[in-house]
């Protein structure tokens, strides 16, 4: 009865095009039957795969899902980005008939980092993938240390056959994995030539998660992820279960290399053959806004969702490589402060926007907090930088038009939006809503 009520709500919403269809049915079902999530999860044939982490959930999920689908598996997936409990229920209901039978071989559930401890006991997943843990939306959640402590407590309670796949380059997650009674597999990079020149300022945990002593790094790949050890207590990076040099990556940016490795390691565990995995990587199409490429009015556009300091730093790194190759000169930054973006925009001061400004070109700025972003860029201008043209446009449509005008035919316009801004940008570029 809960299932049919919720499904009725889903169809009603679709019919009326209200737009909250990705969470409301879940809310209705959960009211009627509080055990809904666990009842649904139990019906997934081969088990549930949880994808958690601050950045990269969507791309990793889509990649793993595509690998599984090419292997003829039927997948339930909360691919709308609704990653709180009611969003998970809605996604599972989508694959359920009116009699309440769920028809899926696997469910891939992207789960918000703060909700994870609450839903894990109900889900009893077969696989858990944790990609990273960065400072994101602290205004909602408090602090990184607190989150990892909660994760550890709850994962340890799961059955011993649960496979936990973690980023071994992330000290917090490496430590978490070393504490768990379950089978733990680590992915990470083994490519010292990719080391950053210095540890970025936006870094959270360079202190030993075990004893609190500063960690020593042989090198850093991204934020606080790298090759590290603690000179005091001997804590060290976990041994990796995959050789990063053996695998190509999807999309651009080193962060997508991590996402690729996480999906590959999970697919290998599930038993997908190497050929299917490689083929999926080669033919991968980006999820919306995640290094997604579009053609607009004869111009090439790439949308690079950036929702926190680490994400934006890595975006700037990828954009700068393209700028240095002479294939881009214009960037559009769109900063919003709506609930999905986080209402606190102070994080832009932890981003090394100086690196974006240093290479010159045209910077167009827009979004709800257009002047905050403009102010950040004004304060990023250093002596000796190449000339930068800063254009401020409150109206997003005008901003996009201006940015396109400044983009030459053989160049790519890079759009760097926060989450809600990405949805607005996409709607304007493609003429339709996606959620």
């Amino acid at each position: 009865m809960a299932v049919s009520a919720a499904k009725t709500v889903t169809s009603l919403i679709r019919l009326l095009r209200i737009g909250a269809g990705s969470v409301l049915p879940g809310t209705v079902a959960d009211r009627i039957q509080p055990q809904m999530l666990s009842l649904l999860c139990r019906q997934v044939k081969y088990g549930v795969i949880i994808i958690a982490g601050t950045n990269g959930k969507t791309t990793t999920s889509l990649l793993l899902r595509t690998m599984l689908e090419r292997h003829d598996r039927r997948i339930a997936h909360n691919d709308t980005g609704a990653n709180l409990e009611n969003g998970l229920i809605t996604a599972l209901l989508d694959n359920t008939d009116l009699a309440g039978n769920l028809n899926a071989d696997y469910a891939i559930l992207e789960v918000d980092e703060n909700v994870l401890p609450k839903v894990l006991p109900k889900i009893q997943p077969k696989y858990i993938l944790c990609l990273n843990l960065f400072r994101d939306q602290l205004d909602r959640y408090g602090e990184v240390d607190t989150i990892s402590q909660r994760w550890q407590g709850v994962i340890a309670q799961l059955p011993s056959e649960t496979a936990v796949i973690l980023n071994g380059d992330d000290p917090t997650l490496s430590h978490l994995g070393q504490q768990l009674p379950q089978r733990v597999l680590f992915f990470g990079l083994s490519e010292p030539e990719q080391y950053l020149e210095e540890i970025p300022h936006a870094v959270d945990s360079i202190y030993c998660p075990k004893c609190g002593h500063p960690l020593e790094y042989e090198g850093v790949y991204l934020s606080h992820q790298g090759d590290f050890h603690c000179p005091s207590c001997g804590f060290t990076k976990s041994k990796l279960d995959i050789d990063s040099r053996e695998w190509p990556q999807v999309l651009i940016g080193i962060y997508n290399k991590y996402n690729t490795l996480a999906a590959v390691l999970a697919a290998q565990q599930i038993g997908i053959d190497q050929g299917t995995i490689l083929d999926t990587i080669k033919n991968f199409q980006a999820a919306f806004g995640r290094a997604e490429e579009l053609h607009v009015g004869g111009k090439h556009v790439r949308i690079l969702l950036s929702k926190n300091p680490v994400g934006m730093n890595e975006t700037i790194r990828a954009v700068n490589q393209i700028k240095e190759a002479g294939k881009a000169s214009t960037t559009l930054m769109v900063l919003n402060d709506q609930t999905p973006d986080g209402t606190d925009v102070s994080w832009i001061w932890d981003v090394d926007t100086e690196k974006l400004v240093a290479l010159g070109g045209t910077l167009v700025v827009s979004g709800d907090r257009v002047y905050d972003m403009a102010l950040r860029l004004r304060y990023s201008q250093m002596e000796g930088d190449q000339a930068t043209k800063l254009i401020v446009k409150e109206d997003l449509q005008e901003a996009i038009a201006t940015a396109l005008e400044h983009t030459a035919a053989d160049e790519t316009l890079h759009i760097v939006p926060t989450y809600s801004a990405m949805l607005e940008v996409r709607e304007l570029l493609t003429g339709r809503k996606i959620l």
């Binding site: 400072r135 602290l138 205004d139 408090g142 602090e143 990184v144 240390d145 607190t146 300022h201 870094v203 360079i206 202190y207 609190g212 500063p214 209402t343 606190d344 925009v345 102070s346 994080w347 832009i348 001061w349 932890d350 907090r369 257009v370 002047y371 905050d372 403009a374 102010l375 950040r376 004004r378 304060y379 002596e383 401020v392």
Partner: protein
């Protein structure tokens, strides 16, 4: 005047910079450099010496997570604590956000674990009411009420100094015998109860308001630079005005959204 030099001391850049607090350092550095002053930014981390602390003209401290705050307090003892105390007592200006004021007070009681003793420079205490208590989160607006500072700023602005920022703190601060920095117009302030925000002692500004604080309230940045140079060179310094149109527009946009009708200018 161009041979004037300013040393910005930055307390524990890797431990105490939770919410874009680096923006305060960037703002001071750029505004001094744009006026032709020579600027040095000196990180005051675990490796810093007492002599380093004595070289500082203006001090910036940011917010920390509870564990980082403990590491800081373990390091900031003995001669280093004494040097900091001397400098602040002698009138070195500084801006201390979120965790830093807690460090300047008597103590901070975190949600988990033991009370962290502070320097006891400012007569105030901070307590975290527990994980279940609401964090104080949101845009915050306050009018500077600390009398000497308010007077200086009014002279600069020709209007009452209204500060805008963003607060996000679990801890609540209660003032004893120390002047509040301001009177809350929107938001929580020190504890959400008594309408006070921050504290002002000698030339030290303590506040829960990040955002970061200085880029959108450039008159505070200029007051800090001017006070630091005046103290250092023992002569009156007046700063060249800068173009703060973007800061004014950022303030106007937020005041409008918050339905606040005050003088919004970021500059004269």
């Amino acid at each position: 005047m161009t041979n004037h030099q300013l040393t910005i001391g930055w307390l524990y850049p890797n431990l105490m910079s939770t919410y874009g607090d680096r923006g305060n350092v960037i703002c001071l550095r750029q505004r001094a450099q744009w006026r032709g002053y020579e600027v040095q930014v000196m990180p005051l981390d675990q490796q810093a010496s007492v002599a380093d602390i004595h070289k500082v003209d203006v001090l910036v401290g940011g917010g920390a997570q509870d564990r980082q705050q403990e590491i800081v307090m373990r390091d900031l003892r003995g001669a280093k604590a004494e040097a900091l105390r001397e400098k602040i007592e002698a009138g070195m200006p500084g801006v201390f956000t979120c965790g830093s004021p807690q460090l300047l007070g008597h103590y901070y009681e975190p949600a988990l674990g033991q009370r962290i003793e502070g320097l006891g420079l400012l007569d105030m205490v901070s307590k975290h009411p527990g994980f279940d208590a609401r964090r104080c989160i949101g845009n915050v607006v306050f009018e500077v009420s600390a009398s000497r500072l308010a007077g200086d700023l009014e002279k600069m602005l020709n209007s009452p100094p209204v500060v805008i920022g963003f607060e996000n703190h679990g801890g609540r601060t209660y003032l004893g015998n120390v002047e509040p920095l301001g009177r809350v117009l929107k938001g929580y302030g020190n504890n959400g109860e008594d309408g006070t925000e921050g504290a002002f002692y000698r030339n030290a500004i303590a506040t829960y308001s990040h955002g970061p604080l200085l880029p959108k309230n450039p008159f505070l940045a200029d007051w800090l630079i001017q006070t630091a140079l005046t103290e250092k060179y023992k002569m009156p310094i007046s700063l060249k005005p800068l173009d703060d149109a973007l800061a004014t527009q950022a303030r106007e946009a937020m005041f409008k959204r918050l339905n606040v009708s005050f003088p919004v200018a970021a500059q004269r």
